[in-house]
Symmetry: C2
DNA sequence: TCACAAACTTGACAGTGACTAGTTATAAAA
DNA sequence: TTTTATAACTAGTCACTGTCAAGTTTGTGA
């Protein structure tokens, strides 16, 4: 227990000043999150994982809320990237692009279920935090833009177009949420399906809320 | 602090044996849940609210998980009733009935947001618990039945029909989830709308995933 | 009335997040 | 190079959490 400070331990030099503890804590926090889920998330466990004392995180993130808020903001940024990634692989017409965005949405949820829960179903992140507000907003704006490319109308000025946006969002969000809670398993067996087959099924469902008059 | 045991206190006779503590605890738990949300739910606070010691709940529900599992089961039962209630007010054709069920789904979420979260986005309830499994199952079966009345096919034997079920479920669930997390507020201003107007908007959205060939 | 079990209380334990005071390293000023 | 200030981190404490073990009260059936 009583380790000599100057000892290098297991080859990892243990400096008093970590150098980049903030990033290290975020990494540890995400690892804890995906291993244990948000409901048994512990700040002390994160500190232990990062190899620092339980009081250390406070200096960088004030409190648990601060750490989770930062992690959530990063989540939204990666969330948008997951959608962009799908879009790069898809055809360039607006309809295909919107569907691809939806598939990216679901990809992200399936690959980061706990983080997804933190982003969409938790009150722990401080939504008034500037960075979080910006990244969450840009995720929503992306959705609006994708939808706007299908209709001629700007959803921010056309209530009907905004209804289309919300319909698409709700459908895709619902698919993602039901998926990660295991509720699609018994009826559809989605996790056992090959990805291509699953994508086809999701695409089929998503297309239902996209108006036919949209250019294919 | 040291109260005389035989004192009647504030007119409520305080018996050692409560008589129906289990129900009382469930009531208290739901009150705590809706006041504080699931993320700061405390068993001790529930016990205090029910006017009983912190150890008392264990005798009826084993642990927190047990209490929340029971509450979740009750939630699903009320959830189905909320849908039935809407259906009684609606026209009797299958399409109207399915839409009504969806509106009831959303009603329930809006009126019991924390409970809804517990039911659909938490791992605290023990889903292998028999009563919970049964009530959750019957909620799903209701959805299947409502969808079955629209198509001729039985979703349990027709994969296409099951896709319809999941599409409807995902859309309605997504609407409910986005609604209670406040994400429909800025784009649509739903909470400020009159109920009839909001119902009309939701109905419009829900109808998009219901095939046209369904008898009106 | 007597024993027994069910219902409930009480006290203890380890774990949690937050706070305070103290320690160590780094960087800027002399 | 030495001094000084401050940022980074540790360590101890507090109130609170859920769980457990042991004790007390009450109701019930023999």
């Amino acid at each position: 227990m009583t380790q000599i400070k100057t000892s290098l331990g297991n080859s990892a030099r243990k400096k008093y000043h970590h150098g980049d503890l903030a990033s290290e804590l975020l990494r540890a926090a995400e690892a804890e999150l995906s291993e244990n889920g948000i409901e048994s998330f512990s700040l002390r466990a994160v500190a232990k994982r990062a190899g620092v004392s339980h009081g250390a995180p406070a200096h960088h993130f004030t409190d648990v809320r601060g750490l989770l808020t930062a992690l959530t903001a990063i989540g939204y940024e990666r969330f948008v990237r997951a959608q962009n990634h799908r879009q790069q692989l898809a055809k360039s017409d607006p309809k295909s692009q919107l569907v691809a965005s939806g598939l990216g949405y679901i990809d992200f949820a399936m690959q980061n279920p706990a983080l997804f829960r933190l982003m969409f179903s938790s009150e722990k992140p401080d939504r008034s935090n500037e960075r979080l507000a910006i990244s969450a907003r840009s995720a929503f704006d992306k959705l609006v833009t994708d939808a706007q490319n299908i209709h001629d109308a700007d959803p921010y000025h056309d209530p009907i177009a905004m209804m289309d946006v919300m319909a698409t969002w709700a459908l895709v969000h619902g698919l993602a949420d039901l998926m990660i809670s295991g509720r699609m398993e018994q009826p559809m067996g989605f996790t056992q399906m090959a990805q291509l087959e699953r994508d086809a099924a999701f695409t089929d469902i998503i297309l239902r809320v996209i108006p036919d008059n949209a250019d294919s």
